[in-house]
């Protein structure tokens, strides 16, 4: 058995950086609650595409970077993203076979789980409960998933990330 040399780490890294950038880029006030969880979408895609390279560890590191970037409790996003990466890894063979709309629904569930864990952590840290709009971001993320999927797939093929 030969291991293929892993290629395109830079491409993966850049997509994560862009996702983090989209997370902190200033938006008008009304749009803030609708900001999709870009980082989760990108993490789910790479875990689906390259489960042997991207997984819980990457999710955790991404989460720590996000916590520092947005000033949340250190570990809040790390916990949820590591868990999302784990669930995606467990189901990646099934999800890959789904048609795109069914994938979107699965992604919605994953995004909701991530949101819920964040809410629990905030609740334990005694921050005030968020409004119902808190749950809008996963929905936006669900509708964005097909595009994210197609763009990242084309990127992966173009740069032959494996």
């Amino acid at each position: 058995m030969t291991l293929a040399p892993s290629r395109g780490s830079l491409v993966i890294f850049i997509t994560f950086v862009v996702a983090l950038l989209l997370t902190v880029i200033p938006l008008p006030d009304w749009a803030q609650m609708f900001r999709p969880q870009w980082y989760t979408l990108v993490l789910i895609y790479w875990t689906l595409a390259l489960p042997e390279r991207i997984g819980v560890g990457t999710g955790w590191l991404l989460g720590i970077a996000l916590d520092v970037l947005t000033g949340t409790l250190l570990g809040q996003h790390a916990l949820s993203l590591a868990l999302i990466a784990f669930v995606t890894y467990q189901m990646h063979q099934r999800i890959r076979l789904f048609p795109l709309w069914q994938q979107s629904l699965t992604v919605l569930v994953l995004l909701l789980i991530e949101r819920m864990i964040s809410m629990w952590v905030m609740g334990v840290a005694s921050q005030p409960p968020a409004s119902l709009l808190y749950w809008a971001a996963p929905l936006v993320g669900m509708f964005l998933w097909p595009w994210v999927y197609i763009i990242l797939r084309d990127l992966r093929r173009k740069f032959q990330v494996s």
């Binding site: 902190v24 880029i25 200033p26 520092v68 250190l74 570990g75």
Partner: protein, 286 residues
């Protein structure tokens, strides 16, 4: 997470990681600062002239007020000398700019472009042109995070300017609203009263304006009145923030000496802030 929340051992880790991610903050800030730069560069001659005239007018007005203030300050000091009580007036301030990034939408915090390299310390009070904005919670090398006073984890000891009634202003998590719990129903407080910092927490220097009372509701069945206030600082609009060092009399004497030489920006920035011990013992943040 528990360690980060309860104790603060992870501050150094966070500060180190922040240096790694801070380029992202700057890139995210780029569109806005580029637009600002362009409007400044291509501003019309007329507009600049107008602005200049306005600023000059404002400057004269402020200077006139300052003259009166100097006399009052001297008088105040004389009277306090008579009473033999010491009083600190001197504060040193540093202007910093906000970096336009959206942090966690569920916390009221902003990022400023000065960090430990400029002598910022944790718990340092931050003002804007009008009033108190909040305090520094995370210090990194070149940036620091400011917790606004409307965050739900922020509490600030204040007093009513009119009669000196002391109380605590708690953040509600909503921008533009503070809450004053534990005020008895018969407390002497009215809509429109100005709240100023009382300096009791030890973190904020006394006498800076904080908020204005917007509503006082008393219900006979309740033990306490329901009082809310609106911060006078423009928390959601301001672009500059002032960082304040309270000078002890000795430091004031030193800075007076230093003012004999032509002041440079470096020397002003590198002067040592007061010891953090006195500050960290205070309990402003719950």
């Amino acid at each position: 997470m528990v360690v980060d929340h309860r104790q603060h051992h992870l501050e150094t880790v966070r500060a180190f990681l922040s240096v790694l991610v801070s380029p992202l903050h700057y890139i995210a800030d780029l569109p806005l600062s580029a637009t600002n730069w362009l409007t400044n560069t291509f501003a019309s001659h007329n507009r600049l002239l107008n602005e200049n005239r306005e600023l000059r007018k404002e400057n004269i007005l402020l200077q006139a007020q300052q003259q009166k203030l100097a006399a009052l300050e001297a008088e105040n000091m004389r009277l306090r000398d008579l009473l033999e009580s010491s009083f600190k007036i001197g504060d040193r301030v540093l202007v910093s700019e906000l970096i336009a990034v959206d942090l966690d939408p569920f916390k009221q915090q902003v990022l400023i472009n000065k960090g430990s390299s400029s002598g910022i310390y944790q718990g340092q009070p931050v003002l804007d042109a009008n009033a108190v904005m909040g305090q520094v919670i995370h210090v990194n090398r070149f940036t620091s995070t400011v917790l606004l006073l409307t965050d739900s984890s922020h509490a600030l000891p204040v007093q009513v300017n009119r009669n000196g009634l002391r109380t605590v202003a708690m953040g509600t998590g909503k921008i533009g609203e503070l809450e004053l719990p534990h005020l008895p129903n018969n407390a002497d407080i009215q809509v429109g009263d100005l709240l100023v910092t009382s300096g009791l927490g030890g973190r904020f220097p006394p006498g800076y304006p904080v908020a204005e009372i917007t509503s006082v509701k008393t219900e006979p069945g309740q033990h306490f009145a329901h009082v809310t206030a609106r911060p006078t600082a423009h928390l959601d609009r301001t672009r500059e923030a002032l960082l304040v060092w309270t000078l002890t009399p000795f430091e004031e004497y030193q800075s007076d000496l230093a003012e004999g030489e032509p002041p440079t920006e470096e020397s002003a920035e590198e002067a040592t802030p007061p010891e953090a011990d006195a500050v960290s013992s205070a309990e402003d943040v719950q």
